[in-house]
């Protein structure tokens, strides 16, 4: 199946391209890849990347080399909800190791894997600029801050009920 953006997203892509000078439409690559990941199931397949290349009138390889450089892009299918847990120093000082272990145990997966029910993908990430409210994880649009192993269970239940 070939993915195509909705008309509304296509209009947005046009507006994004217009932010950059004539002939510099490649600048729109990162914003458009974000839109593609959001619209096509949370990850970028080769077909999706080829489609983005055609939209921006650039070579597919130019998209692949960018998509593989930036960690926000998932190059494999993910669960309905990706738990992006910060693992960097300041979060570790306030217990992120325990948070990650707790999630691995509770969901029975390791970093990078998706739970058997297809609900959660665990992805450790680097400093999210939220060290003052550590430990922290990103879930979709938002950060969930000041995590504790106790609060995690309720958070997972709530996410489940919302999906």
């Amino acid at each position: 199946m070939i993915n195509t953006f909705s008309p509304a997203t296509l209009a947005l892509v046009k507006r994004i391209i217009a932010r950059y000078p004539e002939g510099k439409q490649k600048s729109a690559l990162l914003p458009v890849l974000h839109l593609a990941q959001a619209e096509f199931g949370g990850w970028l397949s080769t077909e999706t990347m080829d489609y983005v290349a055609s939209l921006l009138d650039i070579q597919p390889i130019e998209v692949y080399e960018v998509a593989t450089f930036y960690t926000m892009f998932n190059l494999k299918p993910v669960g309905k909800c990706v738990l992006e847990v910060c693992r960097t120093g300041p979060c570790m000082l306030r217990g992120s190791d325990d948070i990650i272990k707790h999630l691995e145990k509770k969901l029975n997966i390791r970093d990078g894997e998706t739970s058997a029910d297809g609900m959660f993908t665990l992805k450790t990430v680097e400093c999210l600029a939220s060290c003052g409210t550590a430990p922290v994880m990103q879930v979709g649009e938002h950060y969930i801050e000041n995590l504790s192993c106790e609060s995690l269970d309720g958070i997972l239940d709530q996410i489940r009920s919302e999906h």
């Binding site: 990162l30 130019e62 992006e84 300041p90 570790m92 000082l93 400093c127 600029a129 003052g132």
Partner: protein, 453 residues
């Protein structure tokens, strides 16, 4: 009450919106500048203010603005660096989230001063919820006539666009950021010839400034550079946002007047509120993960025994032997139970992960250091590993295209310099360190390093 420049209105209800921001005096600096000042006069005020780049390097801002090549005949760009990804730093986010108009106002002033008609805010992609906040603030400023064509009838025009990053620490480095903004991998460019002021975005003259730097400009235009320079100490003028994290009672973003004693910052209830759980202070990384770590005694007092102050100069006093750097103001505090080796292993893993891979000393060296630190931390260290680490760090430092190499090396060299006992303990007692919480069970507390509050 201390002098606040950036956060003075942060608690005004509704300051996020244009109406409230304007009511509190917002955009009056733009009115003053576009009606009564030439671009050169604005740059002159910024020079007089002594403002130094708040992104980490501390380069004089006004001087940087004068480097912009205005005679090239090419368009000039302003790029705001909102990538904020130096571990321990979260102050730009605070401004972006809570008072976006302050940044927009600063960007209008800077763009006018350098002759830019297009400006981009390159913001880390993870700040997903902040994109609508900025877009909305830009739309508000536009409909109020502060952006767009012919601003306030001055004949000057400006558009500001927000651009998302993709999750890569290296894109905070200004030339990598520009590559990224052009839709490429974030590989830093060689300087020379690619100085942004001459060959920046799309090979045009470009000014890259940090969020906090730009957000300070409205106050400078309003009060005058000379008045701003009266705040602070010596060449560290004005105020600075400090992101405080780690083992303290009150983590958060604080605006300090330059010159505040470090001891007061850590222990006063107005700021960090002391070390958590009634514990003692072991170490501080004062300016984001890239700067040298200092033990308690040296962060509180210089080697000469003078109180250490929150200024560029005082934090650097003693050079790398006994000093550190103000950097981005990411102030990471560690209590007596912290394992310096574990923390360093974590940071080194970070730099290895974030190395763009262009230079072999950085790409290979960070990987090698990570491996050696991993084995020391997990009770598999060998006696000569400490010297090996030190040697690898020295071979990275100063031998790379961009400063990420140095940023990876300094934490290693400084940790070994000041906390050699921690490393030796790991090699001597491999069984004890197999418990990841080894120093929580039994803090390693050489007497000179701990501060008793």
């Amino acid at each position: 009450m201390r002098r606040q420049v950036l956060l003075k209105d942060i608690n005004v209800p509704g300051i996020l919106s244009y109406d409230v921001y304007r009511r509190e005096g917002g955009y009056s600096a733009v009115e003053k500048a576009l009606r009564d000042m030439t671009p050169e006069q604005i740059t002159e005020e910024v020079k007089l203010s002594g403002l130094r780049g708040r992104g980490g390097a501390g380069f004089p801002t006004g001087l940087k603005w004068t480097f912009i090549d205005r005679k090239s005949g090419k368009p000039v760009y302003l790029v705001c660096n909102a990538d904020e990804s130096e571990p321990g730093t979260f102050k730009d986010r605070y401004l972006l989230e809570h008072i976006p108009h302050l940044l927009i106002e600063g960007m209008i002033l800077a763009s006018y001063a350098i002759g830019a008609n297009t400006a981009y805010i390159y913001m880390r992609g993870e700040f997903r919820w902040i994109f609508p906040i900025l877009e909305r603030a830009i739309a508000e400023a536009r409909s109020a006539g502060f952006l767009g064509e012919n601003i306030l009838g001055s004949g000057y025009s400006l558009e500001i666009y927000v651009h998302p990053g993709g999750g890569a620490y290296i894109c905070g480095e200004e030339t990598a950021l520009l590559e990224s903004l052009e839709g490429k991998r974030g590989n830093p460019r060689l300087k020379p010839p690619y100085f942004p002021a001459v060959m920046g975005l799309y090979n045009c003259p470009t000014l890259v400034n940090n969020v906090e730097t730009l957000a300070t400009v409205p106050a400078i235009v309003t009060m005058g550079g000379a008045e701003y320079a009266r705040i602070g100490v010596g060449k560290s003028t004005g105020t600075k946002l400090i992101s405080a994290s780690g083992h303290i009672n009150k983590p958060g973003v604080y605006e300090i007047e330059m010159g505040l004693p470090v001891e007061e910052f850590i222990y006063s209830d107005e700021y960090c509120g002391g070390i958590w759980k009634g514990r003692k202070l072991k170490a501080v990384v004062a300016g984001g993960s890239s700067v040298p770590i200092l033990p308690a005694d040296l962060i509180l007092k210089t080697a000469k025994g003078e109180p250490r102050l929150m200024t560029y100069e005082s934090l650097a006093d003693g050079g790398f032997q006994t000093g550190t750097m103000l950097g981005s103001g990411g102030f990471i505090v560690m209590d007596e139970t912290t394992c310096i080796v574990r923390n360093l292993w974590n940071f080194t893993r970070f730099y290895h992960h974030e190395s763009c891979g262009q230079c072999s000393p950085c790409r290979e060296g960070t990987g090698w250091m990570e491996k050696v630190l991993h084995r020391i931390e997990h009770g598999e260290g060998r006696p000569h590993d400490i010297d090996l680490l030190d040697d690898v760090a020295k071979k990275i430092e100063g031998k790379t295209i961009c400063p990420l190499g140095d940023a990876a090396a300094w934490p290693v060299s400084s940790a070994i310099r000041h906390f050699r006992e921690d490393f030796e303990y790991h090699i001597k007692y491999p069984e004890k360190v197999k418990n990841p919480k080894h120093f929580e069970v039994e803090p390693l507390t050489p007497s000179r390093q701990l501060a008793t509050a």
